[in-house]
């Protein structure tokens, strides 16, 4: 294994392990869990459901990861989802073409991100408050567009994005996988990832090293807005209607959780989009697992809370330093001897 691949494997190990444990537990409660079959030219099974239902949170987690890496947070994504879903439905029902509709919707998401980004980068407002504004007002704006009703549409193209399939996978899965890979490639194949991490760890030192911190910050929020727009389109297309009331409700919290479960620190810096996506799948596996196992849904939140607390306590600085201390206690003595020489 090449060193980079090895580092990658080490980084993702806790998340993959947690996911595996959860899936295993679900499969004990529901034996047919891992079964996959082809039907009507698409894969079909509980695993696919997890991938499919996890699409909105996974998409939001992509943008959220980058925002959190810059030491920020974006509370508005759920509301932006609602806005964009409403915009998409309104655009398609008022006769715009599919391409135009998608363009308008993604543009709306970008605008929302731009608004957040400018508040954070230019006006220097704490990210949590800056994005709170749009979080509070956004759902109202979405309802303004749909006038409170569920705005339904019948455009086959738009519906296809929600429930069609491509390469044997449901479209939402294709969208988040493709977008996740795209963004991951974008940040890792270019220097963006490193520059964002530098900005998140030490904004001033990065600025002094010539990193354009302001532009990067805004770009992070724009990406988050774009992700929210995609998630909003999927959520609307899935049910063939824009539900301004319920679309994306509380998903910002799930997305933040996915990122934190994915091991990216809320204090910014090192991030992994793959880990956040696995984090999103962990959350969705818990949800779907509870539905499948026939467990009453009222236990959903408690189980979710327990899992989060567990993962977070393991990741907390104190627990980690204790862990590092224990695991290195033996090794370090040898090392200091060597360094002394």
């Amino acid at each position: 294994m090449s060193p980079t691949l090895k580092a990658y494997a080490i980084r993702l190990f806790p998340q993959v392990a947690a996911l595996a444990v959860i899936l295993l537990m679900v499969s004990i409660a529901f034996p047919g869990f891992f079964r996959l079959e082809m039907q009507n030219g698409r894969l079909y099974g509980s695993m696919i459901d997890i991938l499919n239902r996890g699409a909105p949170v996974a998409l939001l987690a992509i943008g959220m990861t980058v925002v959190i890496a810059t030491k920020g947070i974006d509370l508005s994504v759920g509301a932006v989802m609602a806005i964009c879903g409403a915009v998409a439905a309104a655009a398609i029902t008022s006769g715009h073409s599919l391409a135009m509709t998608l363009l308008i919707t993604l543009g709306t998401g970008i605008l929302c991100g731009l608004w957040n980004g400018i508040l954070v980068a230019v006006l220097d407002i704490q990210p949590i408050i800056a994005t709170l504004v749009l979080m509070v007002a956004g759902r109202g704006i979405a309802q303004l567009i749909t006038e409170g009703a569920i705005l339904t549409f019948n455009d086959a193209g738009l519906i296809f994005i929600g429930s069609g399939s491509l390469f044997g996978l449901p479209m939402p899965v294709v969208v988040w996988l493709a977008f996740g890979i795209l963004v991951a490639l974008l940040v890792r194949r270019t220097a963006l990832g490193m520059l964002i991490e530098a900005l998140g760890v030490n904004r001033r030192a990065s600025m002094l090293s010539g990193v354009s911190t302001g532009v990067l910050l805004i770009a992070a929020y724009v990406l988050s807005g774009l992700c929210a727009a995609l998630a909003g389109i999927i959520a609307a297309a899935d049910i063939r209607g824009a539900d301004a009331n319920n679309a994306g409700l509380w998903l910002e919290l799930d997305a933040i959780l996915a990122v934190v479960v994915g091991g990216t620190s809320l204090l910014g810096g090192r991030f992994s989009i793959a880990a956040s996506l696995i984090g999103a799948l962990i959350i969705q596996s818990v949800n779907t697992g509870i539905l499948l196992s026939g467990f009453p849904p009222e236990f959903n939140l408690i189980i979710k809370a327990a899992i989060i607390v567990l993962i977070l306590v393991i990741q907390s600085p104190r627990a980690q330093s204790a862990f590092v201390f224990l695991s290195r206690a033996g090794a370090s003595e040898k090392k200091t001897e060597q360094e002394a020489k």
Partner: protein, 505 residues
């Protein structure tokens, strides 16, 4: 003075940080009713000593006696209760609370179980009246000037402790009038029998107020003298040292005067930071900048790099006007800057040595043209080898490296951009003697390659060793330029002392 008047005695204090000995068997004693100046350049160990005395740090050796009894404060709070109060340069009070609340935090007068604000404000007013301060104690602390805040901090510390008062650079951001006010207060406290430790880098203030002086350098005690017996020149020599001079001078006899003038700064300055100055830098030349801390050295560097935007003057390179409005544009003009405060301005702690080295080059190339991993590895390996950066591997987070190696990595960050003009602010601060010599050699080799360098340093022997010219700063202005045979430690000390004397008069 008699030992019986000694109120605080520290003997053979040791403090070891990973990779560096911060204090090496330092002795210090403080008498009742004296002002004792504690001097030394940054990194000399002043604040480490103070922190050991006040329990903020655990000392690794030595003993501390207060009023003849052994004490071992575990925290600043405990030290405070023992009678040792401290006031820091960056006022350690809470700007969001009122003056009275700051004075009485944690010991507010109570009535019927609740804080009696009226009584608290009355007491606060009475307390500050002792310091000739008649202000509205119900106003927020942040509404007052730093000088007033400083007095409030002193009032709190004295009220809480009452035996020893440590003033850590209290005058750094005060004007002459405010300093006079502060000194009136210090003298009054002295008359009350307090022992006062006074840390500052303003020598005239030392001569104005102190009774004795202790000088530290590189974690070691240089000596303790009575102020009236120590001429200013000798004091500066004690602080800046000259042991290395002979050796370094012998090894590096010649230094390049450089070629033609390449960079021309004219009337370059920024209000409140540095007075406008003119400066010419030749190709392949090292221009040293000397001056005591707070003289405007760092400000000069920041303005040249665009970290602070100049509000007057122009820069030209080979006759072409340069845009230095931001670090980004400065980097585009092939400038580089190793800042003084590595932790805040330099390293990206969580990122690896490799990424830290590649950062500036990458930022200049833009995000869309990444330096390939192989290239980064090569870059990192080359510089780790060339600068002898000691790290187990290039993927180690840079925050785990020692100060000297961090410094070299940041130097590597700039060398990787192949700059024409490099500003080094205290490049050898806080790093061991061996690394010192390496960095000096490195600076010389860089300028042989034709790079123009500005080096700011408190280590005069070093400056003398590699600088073809030395600019002397004082009070945020360039006051002297030493050329050719004038560039000696004596010459620099003379220039600093002379300019100081002149403004004192």
């Amino acid at each position: 003075m008699q030992a019986s008047t000694s109120i605080l005695t520290a003997t053979a204090i040791d403090k070891i940080f990973p990779g560096a000995k911060a204090l090496d068997r330092v002795d210090f004693s403080l008498h009742k009713g004296e002002v004792h100046a504690l001097l030394g350049e940054n990194g000399a160990g002043k604040s480490t000593l103070v922190k050991c005395l006040t329990g903020a740090y655990r000392r690794d050796g030595g003993r501390i006696q207060l009023d003849g009894a052994d004490v071992d404060p575990q925290s600043t709070l405990e030290a405070q209760n023992l009678g040792i109060g401290t006031v820091y340069q960056e006022v350690n009070l809470l700007p969001n609370l009122t003056v009275a609340e700051n004075l009485f935090l944690g010991r507010q007068p109570k009535r019927f179980g609740f804080i009696d604000s009226r009584e608290m404000n009355r007491r606060a007013k009475a307390l500050l009246a002792q310091y000739d301060l008649d202000i509205d104690v119900t106003a927020g602390l942040a509404t007052y000037s730093v000088a007033v805040q400083q007095v409030i901090a002193i009032a709190r510390a004295v009220d809480l402790s009452g035996k020893v008062l440590i003033l850590d650079e209290p005058t750094a951001s005060l004007d002459a009038h405010e300093v006079a006010m502060l000194f009136r207060i210090v003298r009054r406290l002295k008359e009350r029998g307090l022992g006062i430790v006074f840390i500052t880098h303003f020598l005239e203030q030392v001569y104005d107020i102190s009774d004795r002086i202790t000088v530290l350098r590189n974690g070691k005690l240089v000596g303790t003298r009575a102020t009236r017996d120590l001429p200013r020149r000798d004091l500066i020599a004690m602080m800046l040292g000259r042991e290395l001079v002979q050796e370094v001078a012998a090894e590096h006899g010649t230094k390049s005067e450089g070629g033609d003038v390449r960079f021309r700064f004219r009337n370059f300055g920024r209000k409140g930071h540095i007075h406008p100055f003119d400066l010419d830098v030749r190709k392949g030349e090292v221009v040293g900048i000397a001056g005591l801390l707070g003289s405007g050295r760092t400000e000069t560097a920041e303005i040249m790099f665009g970290a602070e935007r100049a509000d007057s003057g122009t820069v030209e390179a080979d006759g072409r006007a340069l845009d230095l409005s931001s670090p980004r544009s400065a980097i585009r003009e092939k400038f580089g800057f190793c800042p003084e405060d590595r932790k805040i301005d330099g390293i990206i702690g969580d990122l690896s040595v490799r990424e830290n080295i590649a950062l500036a080059l990458q930022a200049r190339r833009g995000w869309a043209r990444p330096i390939s991993r192989g290239e980064q590895d090569r870059l990192a390996d080359d510089y780790i080898k060339a600068l002898d950066i000691r790290t187990s591997d290039r993927e180690k987070p840079i925050k785990l490296l020692s100060g000297g190696n961090q410094q070299k990595a940041i130097l590597a960050r700039w060398l990787a951009t192949n700059p024409d003009f490099l500003i080094l602010d205290e490049p050898t601060r806080g790093i061991d003697v061996g690394a010192h010599a390496e960095i000096i050699r490195l600076i010389e080799s860089l300028c042989e390659k034709g790079m123009s360098l500005i080096v700011i340093s408190s280590e005069l022997e070093e400056l003398v060793a590699y600088s073809s010219r030395v600019i002397v700063l004082r009070d945020r202005a360039h006051v002297a330029e030493l050329v050719g045979h004038q560039v000696t430690t004596d010459g620099i000390v003379e220039a600093i002392a002379a300019s100081a004397a002149r403004t004192d008069a």
